[in-house]
Amino acid sequence: MTDLPRTQHIITSGAIAAVGITVAYISYTQEPAAAFVFPRLIATVFALLAIWTFVKALLGRTKVGQGVNGQDMRNLLPGLVVTLIYAFWAAKELGFYTATTITFFILLTLYDPAPHTEAKTWIKRVLITAGFMAVMYGLFAMLLNVYTPREIFS
């Protein structure tokens, strides 16, 4: 296990270094040059710091950050997938209120420790979801007049 964070540190700092180098490369090659004076300055410092961090990670001298362990990863993966689908697809395609209702309920089901076998659990989950959605609707649709994308059921 001791080596896991080190590998992870190498991967993340390597990714950041790659971003930094790409940004620097783009800054120095893009036109008009006058608009890239400041990005060049930033990108240079960015790339240098990123490479330094990467080298430190390679040498195993990174002191801070405990990484992500396997148990955490297994726990967060379902939630992460639901979040990704919700933010990048469902909110737009199903409509905010429909997508949020579904996501909210799924997340409760996934992470609420109450036993799935009891009817009481399910009623509680439905009520919480309905309550939350009522507050969101009142606040954003009625009070603030936010026009969200079209709902799929309308």
Binding site: F36, F38, K63
Partner: protein, 503 residues
């Protein structure tokens, strides 16, 4: 003392009713993720169309005062900073709420807000003519150095490693350059259509702070919460007052920094809280406690935020130049009634200006009273089961970032930055310096470009950026700040314990 003469106007039944409405409305809207104080005040403008000028301005003054403090509620309880002003509040405030000290955090935040706010408004009342010249003293070169000073804060702000702090800051500075550049109009780094308009600060804030916390809750899994049930501690209001007044250093630094920085047009409101937080951390003998739920962090950040409110109106009321976006909206509220701000304002329309300023004084106190009333009750948010909390914060984050500009692009940016930030945080990077870079980038760049253009047309760049006592003062502070960071890094290295090396 003319303001006392008009104090009575604030307490007529209709005016006081509007004051209450503005305060409560401002608190609720300020606590809504995605609604910055500027938008909240803009939302209230239509209500003032039908009111008398005096009444309209009382409503706006109260609303402005309380939205700034309202932002602290979501920052402390949900770790969603409503506006850049509340970033520093999340650092210690949310940690306190997690420990069950939410009531205490909210109480001291409201008390510190009111003290800072009252001080700021008194500055506006008594020192306006002096402050007006100060507001004009900051030209492109001074603003550039000020932004650089902000950048030097990055390394030491809420980060366990100076290098990683600086790297986080650089990522933020780079993110800020995405989109059209503000002066030339050239497109930069637009790799996806969602960022074609640049990265909007508020969705970015929501993503960077709220989403990592949601994922961290997922990471704890479907475990039973009984094992770590949070006891929400009750906290007597008297004790909160004693707490705030015993932390005189943080309170004084916060109030002073907020008042001074609040005056500087275009910069103040966004960074006052962070700079005050960083300064009190550096000057505190217990600087290690910052970030772990230390009351001083909340006091410094919130007193600075509200101290900024009064001075930020000085350029508007005296020179007719709105110094901040919120001041610009308030200008609209004045113009709509045919009132032109300027030196003659106080003699031509005293019956409007003084009640407006008084409404901010009384509003500070009312805001504090309401805040203290709800604090004990609101702190129970910490007892909400983890699964529900994660889902609530996620929903609010999506709705909040969408409502800023009615744009799905903002939601995508929010979610993408949030996901990336979770993993970055696991490797020693942190969100606060990244956000500071995102805010300071455009200020530094635009003022550098403008300064360079003026300099090229006149006295040359070296002479332009390195003359004048204010430039040199700022440069010296920049050097001192960098020196301090290096010294701290060296000290840390010497005392690095075995545990740290393994972690």
């Amino acid at each position: 003392m003319e303001f006392l003469y008009y104090m009575g106007d604030v307490f007529t039944p209709i005016n006081f009713g509007l004051l209450l409405l503005g305060t409560i409305g401002g608190l609720i809207l300020g606590a809504t993720p995605g609604l910055s104080p500027t938008m909240t005040v803009a939302l209230m403008i239509p209500f003032t169309f039908k009111l008398e000028p005096q009444q309209g301005l009382i409503l706006l003054g109260a609303a402005y005062t309380s939205t700034v403090a309202g932002g602290a509620v979501s920052a402390i309880l949900l770790k969603i900073p409503g506006a850049p002003a509340n970033i520093a509040t999340t650092l210690d405030g949310h940690t306190m709420a997690q420990k069950g000290e939410g009531a205490k955090a909210l109480q001291i935040s409201f008390i510190a807000s009111a003290i800072g706010g009252l001080f700021g408004v008194f500055l506006l009342i008594f020192l306006t003519p002096v402050l007006a010249t100060w507001a004009l003293a900051f030209g492109p070169s001074e603003l550039f150095w000020l932004a650089i000073l902000g950048v030097t804060v990055i390394g030491t702000l809420d980060s366990s490693s100076v290098v990683k702090g600086l790297l986080s800051g650089c990522i933020g500075l780079w993110l800020a350059t995405i989109g059209f550049d503000d002066i030339m109009g050239a497109q930069r780094f637009i790799f996806h259509s969602s960022v074609s308009g640049g990265i909007n600060v508020i969705p970015a804030l929501i993503g960077l702070f709220a989403i990592p916390q949601v994922i961290a809750m997922f990471a704890k899994g479907r475990s039973n919460v009984d094992a770590e049930i949070i006891v929400v501690q009750r906290h007597p209001i008297g004790a909160a007052f004693r707490e705030v007044f015993s932390r005189k250093r943080a309170l004084a630094i916060g109030t002073a920094v907020g008042s001074i920085i609040g005056l500087i047009p275009g910069v103040g409101g966004q960074i006052a809280g962070l700079v005050a937080y960083d300064q009190s951390k550096k000057m505190s003998p217990e600087s290690a406690k910052f970030g772990t739920g230390h009351p001083e962090g909340v006091i410094a950040a919130e007193s600075a935020n509200n101290a900024m409110v009064g001075p930020s109106l000085v350029p508007l009321l005296t020179l007719s130049i709105p110094g901040s976006p919120t001041a610009a909206v308030l200008l609209g509220g004045l113009l709509i009634h045919g009132i032109f701000p300027g030196p003659a304002l106080f003699t031509q329309y005293p019956e409007v200006v003084w009640p407006f300023i008084n409404s901010m004084l009384v509003g500070q106190i009312l805001m504090c009273v309401f805040g203290l009333l709800i604090a004990g009750w609101a702190a129970n948010v910490a007892r909400v089961p983890r699964a529900v909390m994660a889902a609530v914060v996620l929903g609010l984050a999506v709705f909040g970032s969408y409502s800023v500009g009615h744009s799905m692009g903002d939601v995508y940016v929010m979610a993408a930055l949030g996901l990336a930030m979770y993993f970055l945080e696991r490797f020693g990077f942190s969100a606060a310096p990244l956000v500071l870079g995102l805010i300071l980038g455009p200020i530094a760049e635009a003022n550098f470009m403008q300064g360079a253009m003026i300099a090229n047309a006149t006295i040359g760049q070296m002479a332009y950026f390195f003359t004048g006592w204010l430039n040199w003062l700022l440069i010296l502070i920049v050097l001192a700040s960098i020196g301090y960071s290096i010294w701290m890094e060296l000290l840390q290295r010497r005392y690095t314990t075995k545990e740290d090396a393994q972690a």
